[in-house]
Amino acid sequence: MRVVSAIAGGLGRPGWIHVAIPLALLAALAATPWIGAEANLLRLLFITFIWTTTGIAWNILGGFTGQVSFGFAVFYGLGAYTAAILINTGIHPYLAFAGSALVAVLASLMVGVPTFRLRGPYFAIATIGVSETVRVIMSNLSVTGGASGYRIVEATAFRQADHFYTGLLLVSLAFVVSVLISRSKFGLALTAIRDDEPAASDVGINPLTQKLAAHGVAAALAGMAGGVYARYAAFIHPHGVFAFNTSVYILLIPVIGGIGTLWGPVLGGVIFGIVEEQLVASFPQAHLLIYGALLILIILLEPGGILGIVRKGLRHPRLRFNP
């Protein structure tokens, strides 16, 4: 029971088990290249790290704060292009990723400032258009290759282990950030805003600044994910990184796993990473259809996603995920 509750995010004060399990997982993952796992597995894990990071990021804004974004790919894409451009100038990749984060944060402000001030679904609607608009602009921007894409040429040779560990570092960072937020005063404010924004204002929380901050953190993480991916793929194009589909996947990951929880996006990312490849191979046309149906089922039957089902299955009425 305690083991499961620990994996589910734990309640109350963190015990040793809450730290032990994630660390064990980290150690196991870190060891995979060493124990001679095949290249395909490493690639799959890497992609999972990227998706999980974006899922964790989205969850901070959509799950913790209740602000749904349908265009999160815009930060992923901006991060990808920023890192790509910076790496091509010879900068160390990690500095390039920092640049990705910065650009993503600035973009998040441009979207957030007009929309977060207002009550109503303006933010959600605006996000539908943002990613598309940027995609169109980037497709027409010849300096970055336009619709044909942009190539990254790194000075050092490609080493898969390098990318693997960068991805692992990134997802670990994202997870730690997520945990820290949920345990902090900031996390309290975000939950208050999600539950009842006017009441949150009535206890002294400034909804605008908190939402902008959550958006910024989420965007930064997604931007870095885009950067890390770009460096790996060595070639990016607007229709891939700014794709509407990408935004859909990013959103689905935490929703499937358990929106608003700590481990939900991780679970969702793992499932997605494994399933997506198979699904696209078996049902090239229908896989989005399946995702849509899945979304409908989740919302109607168990909005808490897989973790919600687990929670109900264990019949523990107070198992909550934001300690």
């Binding site: 404010a189 939950t191 009842d196 009535d202 206890v203 002294g204």
Partner: protein, 246 residues
């Protein structure tokens, strides 16, 4: 007498062509429980909305210790020292009772960190007899307890003035009496309370002074006894025949 803590200065507000409040003025002194009553449609809720910041008056001002509150958003008012409770309780549903109070402590006037605030939060919960429910989800406790939670959360922001909006709605007699006792305790601790209420008996039993509104205008302002014996007030509530009997 020292500066009144809250001054309402000729507040008027119109909705379209209808004047909901007309030149309403009054002052609330420190450490008072000040009641606001009036028959239906008198404008109590509207006046409360203006003082709480949800509505902007067409003219007039609300002053806190001489400082103008006009245009200040809700969270800014909290930082100046004015906090409100809600007529329809608004706890943070997915949080525990304790976390609700923590929110007030962390973002109210003293802005404590989450860890530092924990002990104070438990004290506040003890003050409203909710310490046993500290780890319950806020939406799973009874209505009476949710109202106490709302008061505790509001007090957690360390206000100078607590605005109470019809806090007795939906409560039993015992629950009402204990909430009123809570208000007295709050006054003893030094907070001023502005209390809008439908339940005239509740007001009379707990308030130091009472303002009666009628049709958007100030009708009378006095001690509870004075109000009860005021023929104009009785007439407003019950009609002229009843007033004659006062």
């Amino acid at each position: 007498m020292s500066t009144p803590v809250l001054q309402i200065d000729r507040v008027s507000i119109s909705f379209g062509g209808l004047a909901a409040l007309r030149d309403v003025s009054f002052e609330v002194a420190e450490k008072q429980i000040y009641g606001l009553i009036g028959p239906n449609g008198a404008g109590k809720t509207t006046l409360f909305g203006v003082i709480a910041g949800a509505l902007q008056p067409s003219s007039g001002k609300v002053l806190l210790r001489g400082g103008d509150l006009t245009g200040k958003k809700a969270f800014q008012r909290v930082h100046r020292g004015v906090v409100r409770t809600h007529q329809v309780v608004a706890p943070f549903r997915s949080m525990t009772v304790l976390e609700n109070v923590l929110a007030g402590l962390c973002f109210g006037r003293h802005r404590l960190s989450r860890a530092a605030a924990r002990d104070q939060a438990m004290d506040l919960l003890k003050g409203v007899s909710l310490e046993a429910q500290a780890n319950e989800r806020a939406d799973l406790i009874s209505l009476g307890n949710q109202k106490r939670l709302e008061v505790a959360r509001a007090i957690a922001t360390h206000p100078d003035v607590l605005l109470c909006d019809e806090i007795c709605g939906g409560l039993s007699l015992t629950e009402t009496r204990s909430i009123l006792e809570l208000l007295r305790k709050i006054r003893e601790r030094g907070t001023t309370v502005l209390y809008v209420e439908h339940d005239v008996k509740a007001i009379m039993s707990v308030c130091d002074r009472v303002l009666v509104l009628n049709s958007g205008e100030r009708l009378a302002e006095d001690t509870p006894e004075g109000i009860q014996n005021n023929p104009a007030v009785v007439e407003a509530y019950l009609g002229r025949a009843a007033a004659k009997r006062v």
